[in-house]
Point group: C2
Chain length 338, copies 2
DNA sequence: GGCCGTGATGTAAGCGCTTACAATTCGCTT
DNA sequence: AAGCGAATTGTAAGCGCTTACATCACGGCC
């Protein structure tokens, strides 16, 4: 069915080795035969067989990304950065989705199938015993995105610092009675953001009331969506709590919360000031003050780390931590002079 | 390095054929040997080699999706639907991105490498001569998503109808002087939406003024983003045009436009009513009236079509067209009684 | 004129798996 | 007790490619 190097070899009157050399840019082929082979190959529409190639070469040129949820804008943005960077190479990207933590192991298993991928990118999944063991035994290069483990290259944002900045900023704009909408209790990034926020407050003598913290009860990846934000905010209001500031652990939650506030006729930023996290493209267009994570840069950098590890497996582990930057918009007021 | 069936065979005292049979659920293996082989395989941590397998089997279990832009929420949602459906099978998903039309061919070339993928999903790319020829010569199953060609299975939304519905609805809520924000001139879906909208208007005796149509001048995939909407709307306003209704060819454009309107102190829906297209999750939280495309369903269905074509290559071409449904929210007014 | 180094090409042995076909075993039948 | 078929297992030939090694032709050298 398909054209093989045998066909080309026969038609061009050379051996298969020569054909193979031509397609591998091996210099030990004369210009004339190279041209002849290419001509025949073009005419026949020859395409090297991907599997045969990687089997013979003992290596693939595909990498796998294990992502909680493609339709989460954060991941989409990071993947975009990754893709753009990859497009300059001849690598292909395999995408697995693992909406719950339990599924991560299974998907990882697939991605780790021998000969499947040259490297793996694991998104937002805490590497615990089971996983670690699995990763260890197949010595495939791995880079962690949006999570951390001492033994693996990783790329993440300083979430604690982000929380602190949010706290400082909110306080500086006059907030005295803040609330927090946290995505879900199992999310490491969300926890860190909360911790940082708390610390930031307490450093200035403000404490976060326990009933001012709403933790979405959804699973692993969940809670990072508009609906969770909407529901959490609604719950807060229904409990009769009226904070004057709000820190949401993601932009989408903040946007959900904003809608809930609108329903309750609370004005932003007059009655309540809001700050999100991520700086999705949309944030700019709803005027949301937020902490930017350089998402597509994170993706690009993740790919670079992976390449580095692939070429030099023994190099020391590298952790890249980006500092989140504050993007003030109109859901918060002007900073009051100090 | 890796464990092979030879290792297993030796350790279990059987032949490689038997090991292979065990891993292929071939019934012609006794229960006892099967158990023995499995035990050894588990202990050694055996993993079949993906490339070797697909080479020997003469088939892969991966499909390729060629997508203009991962960070476009529409594609992210469709891919999610696709993934969810795929997760029930043992197929893997390879994602290629082709931000410009010129790049589609190149990416397709990669996806079409012999042995690379069992099927290809092409997103929003008009199939023209070059492409068609290429697809024809490699007889890999293809399904088109968000575009149409008589020769290939496809899945799309009735964009013309969507435009009509938008027009009808806007008129029914009292709009008399509508404007349109169109994503870009090369986008087939956007053109159809515009056509439908025009038809819908003229059927009721309203015509779309030429200067009330702003076409974003960005390339192929572009124009489908907030910024384009913002800029187009700003251009409209700066030209001194004050429409009382707005149809944007996508939700994100509508959201960009809303921000521009806010800057100009125009109230929605009092001064201007807005309708978008897609019904992204976010639309609900900004109160955007829009036309829903069942995005994740489209992805799921696309996968089914592809499977169908893979198992029965000669079956007749199927075109699935979803009807967009109107989702009235608060960027439009109540319908006036007829 | 024989020898040798060089560059171009060919031969053949894998890469790890599947699978047609052959071989073997074993329990029954006659 | 020999024979037979079914069930199980083994042998070996690929799948399409890469690549180490062998071969060959050729020109220059002493």
């Amino acid at each position: 069915m398909g054209i093989t190097i045998y066909d080309i070899a026969e038609a061009a009157g050379v051996s298969i080795a020569t054909v193979s050399r031509v397609f591998n840019d091996n210099p030990r082929v004369s210009e004339s035969t190279r041209a002849a082979v290419m001509e025949v190959a073009d005419k026949l529409g020859y395409q090297p067989h991907a599997s045969a190639r990687s089997l013979a070469r003992q290596q693939t040129e595909t990498i796998s990304a294990i992502v909680p949820m493609l339709s989460n804008y954060f991941y989409a943005e990071v993947l975009k950065g990754l893709q753009d960077r990859m497009a300059e190479t001849s690598f292909d990207l395999l995408v697995y989705s693992a909406p719950t933590l339990d599924e991560v192991e299974g998907q990882l298993e697939k991605a780790l199938h021998r000969g499947r991928s040259a490297g793996v990118m694991l998104f937002s999944a805490p590497v615990r015993d089971g996983l670690e063991q699995r990763l260890q035994q197949s010595d495939i290069p791995v880079v962690l995105v949006d999570c951390y483990h001492p033994a693996y290259d990783s790329i993440s944002t300083d979430n604690r610092r982000g929380g602190e900045i949010a706290a400082d900023y909110l306080l500086s704009t006059g907030v005295r009675n803040p609330a927090v909408l946290m995505a879900n209790p199992h999310s490491v990034p969300a926890s860190h953001r909360l911790e940082g926020f708390r610390d930031g407050l307490s450093r200035q003598g403000v404490i976060l009331e326990e009933d001012h913290l709403i933790v979405s009860s959804m699973g692993y990846h969940d809670g990072f969506n508009e609906q969770a934000g909407y529901e959490s905010m609604t719950a807060l209001l229904e409990a009769g709590i009226k904070p004057d500031g709000l820190f949401a652990t993601s932009d989408v939650q903040a946007i959900g919360a904003m809608e809930a506030l609108r329903h309750s006729n609370m004005n932003i930023p007059e009655h309540i000031q809001i700050i999100g996290f991520d700086d999705l493209p949309i944030a700019r267009y709803v005027g949301l003050t937020t902490l930017r994570q350089p998402m597509s840069e994170m993706g690009a950098r993740a790919f670079e780390l992976l390449m580095e590890r692939m070429t030099r497996p023994a190099s020391t582990v590298a952790h890249t931590v980006f500092a989140p930057t504050l993007i003030p918009r109109t859901t918060t007021r002007e900073q009051v002079a100090v």
